[in-house]
Subunit: 137 residues, 2 copies
DNA sequence: CTGTATCCTTAGGGATACTG
DNA sequence: CAGTATCCCTAAGGATACAG
């Protein structure tokens, strides 16, 4: 963890909280991981309506933490492309367990039923499927 | 989710964030789940130094969300005993995946090495062991 | 389109005194 | 011991205008 972000303690739960324990960061990771979003404008268009200054701050922070990497689009030189690093992709099991928990406990949750059923039946194979395309990029 | 806490969206990731996506709630759950803490004073004594008003607020909120339940100690009538409900205990897989992620990515993390190694080897059996005593209480 | 900058409001939360 | 009640301050964040 960079010096800019001192940790209260190095308990693993607290470390995670200091990395992505706010109301916005995990939504950006969700968009990168499950919704194939990759540009500033993509994130802006999500239903939760993040504002530009907050989004820029969280992307910068995620980059500093080594969870997200930033590149310039080859097609359009003024367009940035964000993607998950390995550290970011390693968050997948957490995201899946969160999805499972919400699917079980939120009667209104909009989790894709097919994903929840597959998670219930066999989490490892779901992970394999989701990560299948990651190594290529 | 109680009406007092309207959700931005019912995406499962967002539902979880609205339930425990702040800087304190997950630490209380950690203390209940792994550190056998159960009283107001127990939580107060944790290393992250939560203040009394915030702690009271989060406990009340967790109770309203059905993640924590509150009872009065039989020994001491003016002492409250907090414990995880089934909904709260269902957070265990998330907590373990968070622990594993931090163990891998925070060089300074103080996760119990024994736990991390057991997690790496066989997560299901770790869950069985941790939850062994839960049904009794 | 990708951000930056600014203004302004509110929520989060530390400190602490106090009560049953 | 288990909270409640204040005071006060700072950080978070919404809205929006603007710049490369």
């Amino acid at each position: 963890m960079p010096e800019e972000f001192p940790c209260r303690t190095h308990c693993p739960i607290n470390f995670a909280l200091e990395s992505f324990g706010d109301k916005w960061t995990l939504l950006i990771i969700r968009d990168l991981m499950f919704k194939a979003k990759q540009s500033f404008g993509d994130f802006l268009s999500s239903d939760e309506k993040i504002s530009t200054n907050i989004l820029a701050d969280r992307l910068r922070r995620l980059e500093q933490l080594g969870i997200v990497s930033k590149a310039t689009s080859e097609k359009n030189r003024s367009k940035s492309i964000y993607s998950l690093t390995q550290k970011g992709r390693d968050l997948l099991p957490i995201m899946l367990e969160i999805t499972r928990w919400s699917g079980k406990h939120d009667p209104q949750t909009h989790a894709p039923d097919a994903l929840l059923q597959r998670l219930e039946a066999d989490t490892p194979s779901v992970i394999t499927q989701i990560t299948a395309g990651w190594d290529a990029s």
